[in-house]
């Protein structure tokens, strides 16, 4: 049966002009056009969006969770990478 399944697509919706597209979920569709329409029907029924992106899931490459330690932990003790050591003049507001 697996060869009769339509490919999986990741769906990104932009909720308002000017904001970025956010990942909202995934769905099955036969091609890109159908994926956009399915996304419209599944994810924008309650006026969630003004723009839709779809990407076939197989084209999304993800980092390996098993490597999380090597990838992300080294950033833990590098507090100097945060711009927290600068003295902000009082005149600068709203930073």
């Amino acid at each position: 049966m697996s060869n009769t399944e339509w490919p999986l697509w990741e769906v990104f919706i932009r909720s308002k002009q000017g904001l970025d597209h956010k990942h909202v979920g995934s769905l099955h569709a036969a091609d890109a056009q159908m994926a956009i329409e399915n996304a419209r029907d599944v994810y924008t029924r309650r006026m969630e969006g003004v723009s839709i992106w779809v990407v076939e899931s197989k084209y999304v490459h993800a980092s390996n969770p098993a490597e999380a330690g090597a990838l992300y932990d080294p950033a833990n003790d590098k507090a100097y990478r945060h711009p927290t050591f600068y003295h902000l003049p009082d005149e600068v507001k709203h930073m």
């Binding site: 339509w6 099955h28 569709a29 056009q33 329409e37 399915n38 029907d41 599944v42 029924r45």
Partner: protein, 249 residues
Amino acid sequence: MNLLHYTLHLADNALIIGHRNSEWCGHGPILEQDIAISNIALDYIGQARNFYQYAAELTGNGATEDSLAYLRDAIDFKNCLLTEVPNGDWAQTTLRQFFFSAYQYFLYEQLQNSSNQQLAAIAEKALKEVTYHLRWSSEWVIRLGDGTEESKQRTLRAIDELWSFTGELFTPADYEQQAVTEGYGVDLSQIRENWYKKVTAVFEEATLPLPKENVWMQTGGKTGVHTEHLGFILADMQFLQRAYPGAEW
């Protein structure tokens, strides 16, 4: 009285095809398309409500959108026969939707200019939905017509079953002719050509043979002479209100 009949005709079309599409809810071929056709069904119920509310106003005597939908008999319904045809398979449902959406698209496009402001406003609002229904159903006809050997056979069978119901869309009932004379109705002879052009274009892309335009066609739905299927739809749809009048939840 004529305006009422015309409005009921528009309302009944929307209610009955909406009900047919709602029968797919939970049975769609794939989750996403189940949602798609249920959305379309809901669009239709919305259109039907708008038309029925106006019809209830015209009727007076305490009539409501609910009494018009749930307490009239088959002979009072003025929907086209095409809308009551059983769903069949997905090819048949999407082809029926395509035939009907193409009709509604050109109908509402004209109805927006109706001298009757209520009808014009409802048509303008509904046209956006119908534009999407037409796009969605066109793509399914193309996909299945130009798909696998099986999907093509199913689509050809659906054409055989449905084609003779398309003539009625453009055969005006008395109240439709009267509506044109009185300035608020749409002249069906004017939208027929556009409909046929649209069908020709989509069938061409779907590599489907175009049926002949001038063959024998079914009629009757618009004047209350229905197929046996409408009675079953109404039995299903009206049971609760008839068995438990005024029931709410």
